[in-house]
């Protein structure tokens, strides 16, 4: 099967495709979140070291993973928009930033609610936490930069450059617990090995799927709004069922 990706790269063709895709991600997200929370708060046993406080990781770890991953995806679409000058790539990058910021915020807040009972402090300026905080500032910087530039195409380029520059922070976050002596604990899950009980790991993986599906659904949803905002007046927008009165 040959698929012409550049045909999909036009907002006019991607808009209806995204609309059809959203429920396929939104419902699995809701389902995974329900199952994951039931496993995390109910079925998973109390941790012998950290007591029930560890149950926060079922939100914290998926949110932290998503915060880093979404940043890389945003930087990737930024690079595509710089390289190919495709409007849709820039719109996707624009749609990702708020959700990425939200995931980063959740990772930081849930982390501090975990840190207080576990380490005795809500916050420490250690490498993992500081670099994650910088990630939040990078997301907010990308959002602020866009709203500061009136011409959307110029904003696209400026945001793409900022996103790409900031991407260097992601490996720093990921490896910070290895490179520096941090208050934050080391990696519990690594490709190929895990230090957790099976049911805990299962709960965390299901919550990660929930975060994935949620992020995809909400980003596609926002991307559709962005397409309408930026292309209103274009013939394809006027021909949509929802804009004909």
């Amino acid at each position: 099967m040959t698929l012409n990706w550049f045909r999909l790269a036009s907002p006019a063709t991607f808009y209806p495709v995204a609309g059809r895709l959203i429920p396929w991600f939104a419902w699995p997200a809701a389902l995974c979140a329900c199952v994951g929370v039931a496993l995390g708060l109910g079925a998973a046993p109390t941790d012998f070291q950290q007591g029930d406080a560890y149950r926060i990781i079922f939100i914290h770890v998926p949110a932290a993973w998503m915060s880093m991953f979404l940043y890389l995806v945003m930087a990737f679409w930024g690079a595509m928009s710089l390289g190919f000058n495709t409007r849709l790539s820039a719109m996707l990058a624009q749609a990702i930033a708020p959700t990425g910021a939200l995931m980063t915020f959740l990772a930081l807040v849930t982390g501090s609610f975990w840190g207080r009972p576990t380490w005795g402090t809500y916050w420490a300026w250690d490498a993992r936490m500081t670099s994650e905080l910088i990630l939040l500032f990078l997301y907010l910087g990308v959002i602020a930069l866009r709203s500061a530039i009136d011409d959307p195409r110029r904003a696209d380029r400026a945001c793409a450059v900022l996103a790409l520059t900031g991407a260097v922070n992601v490996p720093i976050i990921y490896y910070s617990v290895k490179w520096w002596n941090t208050l934050h604990q080391g990696m519990s899950v690594r490709p190929g090995e895990s230090k957790m009980a099976t049911i805990m790991l299962l709960g965390m993986l299901i919550m990660s799927f929930a975060a994935w599906f949620y992020a995809i659904a909400v980003v596609l949803h926002r991307a559709r709004s962005i397409m309408l905002e930026r292309e209103s007046g274009a013939a394809w927008v006027g021909a949509l069922a929802e804009t004909r009165s």
Partner: protein, 61 residues
Amino acid sequence: MNEFFAMGGYAFYVWSAYGIATVVIAGEILAVRARRKAAVRLARIVASEPARPAASTGSVR
């Protein structure tokens, strides 16, 4: 049941984390829906206007 809500003495931390996550995610869903509504309304207004010269279809935000 009470034991479940007590979370082994960590109730404040566990429920705060889950509560904040729920509120923030619900807030994003509402925000995304509101934005969609506004975008559709805007597109409808623009589409119902008489045809304009191509140069004027440009930055909306």
